[in-house]
């Protein structure tokens, strides 16, 4: 549970959705169900960590043309 959110929010969310689909469809062994359940809880926590820790990062493209694809953080 102490896993820091290295998974992207969207990936965690999608995996969570598919786990719930599989669990709700049934036809799983009890072991499978239980490990999916644990994984689902982990993913929900990861998603929440993403949402709670978030602070909008705003940067702008520098330079005048495509030869300079750098950005700088605003504010």
């Amino acid at each position: 549970m102490s896993e820091s959110p290295t998974i992207r929010f969207e990936d965690a969310y999608r995996e969570l959705e598919s786990i719930i689909d599989r669990l709700e469809a049934g036809n799983l062994s009890l072991d499978e169900s239980m490990s999916l359940f644990e994984r689902g809880r982990e993913l929900a926590t990861i998603c929440e960590q993403h949402l709670n820790a978030a602070e909008l990062k705003v940067s702008q493209l520098l330079g005048e043309d495509d030869s300079d694809p750098r950005t700088e953080l605003l504010e």
């Binding site: 969310y13 786990i19 719930i20 709700e24 009890l30 239980m34 359940f37 689902g40 990062k57 694809p69």
Partner: protein, 424 residues
């Protein structure tokens, strides 16, 4: 700018020798300079009586009864006023976009430091302005090319990670967009691709900014500009931008102007929002809603896990029940019960048999009693035997007359001689 202005004023001062502009002074107040320029304009006879053709824009009729508007063509604008007294003589009321010919004089509005056309007559030239007509033409052209078709519109990502914003960095629109995203969807990374959004050269700059941010790599692009006059927004009717939108990798959302403004880029965009803020709302979901959905997911996870366990427990109960049915202890219990039943049936059978025997015994005893000869003698019968040989006389043939017989009674006996006999 100021220096050049001052220099030219100095020249004209020399030319006309205006008393209002004292020669010995070298630094002037703003008012003094504006007064000078006003007088300068008033001296130009051409400006006292001019006809100007242009398109009406930003037409307003405040309560004062005066009319204020802008006359413009493709490159330039001119402020115009019509005072209430002239308005009263005016049949034709211009509307935004009308092409007109206006008569009046050009003069300086000192307080604002502006020159403007003071109109005394307005003549309509066409009901719709050239810009509207051109917009219509361009729209129809791109539409017929299929640039606005729904089928080519790309879906927006549900959870964009990088959001490209194409707008001017210093505008309120960009602030609005940031505010919306900070509140609703702070998990994103915003990449601003700055560009001027009005005036000469804006269209190619917008195209370049779109391409740059697309090449940089974003999940969705918001092309935005706050509200403004039709001419302010005109660069968004440039077909180069519309075409560039259809060539980006990331889908493009537009939020240009106000609700009522429609531009070519809106037609070409994958999604059109009425304003920059609305655009920011379209490109990203609300984290509060996501949190609610996550809470619901947690419930569903727990429910389905609970269901699995309950179902397994039911299955286990079933199995235990069946097991109990086939277990040896149950067999033994059953056999024991059968044995008990047999035992009691046996006991009952023996009992029945005994009862029958007893009943038979009684019957026999009664029969035996009935057959006891003493009983017969007691009831008055007698046994007759011949005295000679002791044989029982069972019929009259056994004793001829004269034979001596013994007659045995229950109590005592007699000896007698047969006197006569009758044979039948």
């Amino acid at each position: 700018m100021y220096c050049a202005f001052y220099h030219r004023c100095g020249e004209w001062y020399n030319m006309f020798m205006l008393p209002m502009f004292p020669e010995e002074q070298s630094i002037y107040s703003v008012s003094l300079l504006n007064v000078y320029i006003r007088q300068m304009f008033e001296m130009d006879y051409r400006l006292r009586d001019v006809w100007v053709e242009g398109e009406v824009s930003n037409f307003s009729q405040p309560a004062s009864g005066h009319w204020y508007f802008t006359l413009k063509d493709e490159r330039s604008q001119l402020k115009a006023v019509m005072w209430k007294t002239q308005v009263a003589r005016q049949d034709y009321i211009p509307r935004h976009g009308d092409k007109i010919r206006a008569h009046g004089n050009v003069a300086i509005y000192e307080a604002g430091g502006q020159y403007q056309l003071y109109c005394d007559e307005l003549v309509s030239l066409a009901t719709t302005g050239d810009l509207h007509a051109r917009f219509r033409l361009l729209w129809d052209k791109l539409e017929s090319e299929g640039l606005f078709r729904d089928e080519i519109k790309r879906p927006l990502p549900e959870f964009p990670q990088r959001i490209g914003i194409v707008t001017s960095a210093t505008t309120a629109a960009f602030q609005d967009i940031q505010n919306v995203l900070r509140r609703r969807y702070p998990i994103a990374q915003v990449i601003l691709s700055p560009t001027p959004v009005q005036g000469e050269g804006a269209a190619p700059a917008i195209v370049a900014a779109l391409k740059r941010v697309d090449r940089y790599g974003v999940d969705v692009i918001l092309l935005a500009r706050g509200g403004g006059s039709l001419e302010d927004l005109w660069c968004f009717n440039d077909e180069r931008i519309a075409r560039a939108i259809r060539e980006t990798r990331a889908p493009v959302v537009t939020g240009v102007g106000h609700e009522t403004d429609t531009t070519l880029v809106d037609g070409a965009a994958d999604m059109r929002a009425p304003t920059p803020s609305a655009g920011a709302e379209r490109i990203a979901p609300d984290v509060e809603q996501i949190k609610e959905r996550l809470a619901e997911f947690r419930l569903r996870l727990a429910d389905s896990a609970q269901y699995e366990i309950t179902e397994r427990r039911d299955q286990l109960d079933d199995a235990l029940h069946k097991l109990r049915l086939i277990s040896p202890s149950s067999y033994i219990r059953n056999e024991r019960q059968r044995l008990d039943e047999a035992h009691s049936r046996l006991a009952k059978a023996v009992q029945n048999h005994l009862t029958t025997l007893q009943r038979d015994l009684h019957a026999h005893r009664r029969a035996l009693d009935l057959a006891n000869p003493h009983n017969l003698l007691a009831r008055g019968y007698a046994v007759v035997t011949r005295a000679l040989d002791g044989k029982r006389v069972l019929s009259a043939l056994d004793a001829a007359p004269g034979t001596s017989v013994a007659i045995q009674f229950d109590k005592g006996h007699l000896v007698a001689t047969v006197k006569d006999r009758t044979l039948e």
